[in-house]
């Protein structure tokens, strides 16, 4: 099981979190149709580091982004969504 360091709660068990999508797949309402289709329905699907959007659903419920290796499950660069604003 992965141990995910929530920026608000500290290291917590993976079972408290839900994966949402790779950051590349976040769609914006101002995108063009081909961009939306590309982001909604296709993936780079990397074997290695991947920047992803997760949610601490069964904890503080906040959204976080993190870099996770899809082979080793090593996690780094966890940030709270909106923290930079």
């Amino acid at each position: 099981m992965m141990l995910i360091p929530c920026p608000h709660c500290g290291p917590r068990a993976q079972a408290e979190f839900t994966f949402d999508r790779p950051v590349e797949a976040i769609t914006r309402p101002d995108g063009t149709a081909p961009e939306l289709i590309r982001n909604l329905f296709t993936r780079d699907n990397p074997k290695g580091p991947s920047r992803e959007l997760w949610r601490h659903t069964y904890g503080c419920r906040s959204w976080i982004t993190l870099t996770r290796d899809t082979v080793t499950h090593a996690i780094s660069d966890v940030t709270a969504v909106g923290a930079s604003q």
Partner: protein, 417 residues
């Protein structure tokens, strides 16, 4: 040598020393008519049908590891065609019919056991959905029987039918032609049958690049050197996206993982495949006697083939609540496979935008049951250049055109399936 009772008897007298190698171990040639990437069940059936039905015998199957070592050897061996969508009825029923004749066709006992695949219903809405699904199946000529609570209790006496049951059973929908098969035997049997028709099965040969000339795929680079091909057929399940990326393609696929686990072997206790409409838990018993259990996918992209224990815990908890007598069994092994999750839960059998490059993938966690149908349809496309009518809905571009085949109806979120 044909596998038969007579040859078994004769070899028995001779100390079983005369059995030939089941398939050759050839070095790759410099060029093939068709190169199939991926020596799992789907790739091997594709090669077999190319040779057996279409006379295309200058074919190689390239496998980076050993054949059947990926998802073919990592599933829960369940075979059924009880779906709701007409496109999936046609696909899975074509496949199920091929399962029914498989052992004879390839002269290899795949131990296909039509013991019945039962979906339990736990509520009024479950029973309504099961009744709708059963009607849809029968309308398409597929067997389905709605069962009452009493009929289910009689069929599976070990189910918890007490008033305090955690998951009360109201009834079920059974497909009696569904069942299980010996998964390794499927890979070995098709490998042997394809090899006998002249197909080269090349193991320990990983594809590391796809050669392109003027926008056309002309061959593959492998750990055993370059191999030219008129047509290249991707059939690699969880790594579909990585292989397609070698030709510059992005696929509608995310690679997740699905776990399964087995208990120690015990005497026959469950002679049906048990699934449920509300939970995500599969229970069956292998011919060896192990109780085979499966549950939810892990729901995040990974190539690790290594899942998290809370997923196993959930599946085990559901199985114990349904069949309490499983509680004293010790679990022997657990494992995980890398599943290529498409964005509507349905597979892709199509050409790619790259000339000469074909894709069979996106089977999510339901590919084993489709093994012979998948190979049959893919071989048809590769050999004739035409799309078989049954494969026609499973286009690569159906997401952008809005023609998704969304069996669970949850939208473009692979982790929600």
């Amino acid at each position: 040598m044909k596998y038969s009772a007579f040859n078994l008897f004769r070899e028995g007298l001779a100390g079983h020393k005369g059995w030939p190698q089941a398939w050759r171990d050839p070095e790759p040639k410099s060029h093939y008519d068709i190169v199939v990437i991926g020596g799992g069940g789907h790739g091997l059936t594709t090669a077999y049908y190319l040779a057996a039905l279409h006379g295309v015998r200058n074919v190689a199957v390239l496998e980076r590891s050993w054949i059947g070592g990926g998802n073919t050897g990592r599933n829960t061996t369940i075979v059924r065609s009880n779906y709701r969508q007409p496109a999936l009825h046609a696909l899975m029923e074509l496949s199920l019919k091929r399962w029914e004749g498989m052992s004879d066709e390839i002269n290899y006992n795949v131990m296909f056991s039509q013991r019945g695949a039962l979906f339990l219903g736990h509520s009024d809405s479950d029973m309504l959905q099961l009744a709708q699904k059963g009607d849809a199946m029968r309308a398409d000529g597929i067997d389905a029987e709605l069962m009452t609570r009493d009929q289910v209790a009689k069929l599976i006496p070990l189910l918890d039918m007490s008033p305090s049951a955690r998951y009360p059973v109201q009834g079920g929908l059974i497909q009696r032609r569904g069942g299980t098969a010996r998964h390794d035997a499927v890979a070995w049997g098709y490998a042997r049958a394809a090899d006998r028709l002249g197909v080269d099965i090349i193991q320990q040969c990983e594809v590391i690049g796809i050669d392109m000339v003027g926008g056309k795929a002309t061959g593959v680079r492998t750990t055993k050197g370059a191999i030219g091909a008129d047509k290249i057929a991707i059939c690699v399940a969880g790594h579909s996206g990585r292989v397609a990326a070698m030709a510059g393609l992005r696929l509608p696929v995310e690679s997740h993982l699905l776990q399964a686990f087995v208990s120690e072997p015990v005497k026959p206790m469950i002679d049906t495949v048990i699934m449920t409409q509300s939970l995500h838990c599969y229970i069956s018993q292998s011919d060896k006697g192990e109780i085979v259990l499966g549950g939810d996918p892990d729901a995040y992209p990974t190539y690790s083939q290594r899942g998290a224990p809370h997923i196993i815990e959930k599946a085990a908890a559901e199985a114990l609540a349904l069949v309490p007598s499983l509680s004293r069994l010790r679990m022997l092994r657990s494992w995980a496979g890398t599943t290529d999750m498409s964005f509507d839960g349905s597979p892709i059998i199509d050409r790619t935008p790259v000339d000469g490059l074909y894709l069979n993938g996106g089977w999510c966690y339901g590919g084993f049951k489709a093994t012979p149908g998948s190979g049959f349809l893919y071989a048809h496309m590769l050999a004739t250049g035409e799309t078989h009518p049954v494969a026609a809905p499973f286009r690569l571009d159906r997401f952008e055109t809005g023609h998704t085949i969304d069996e669970p109806g949850v939208g473009p979120m692979p982790q929600n399936r």
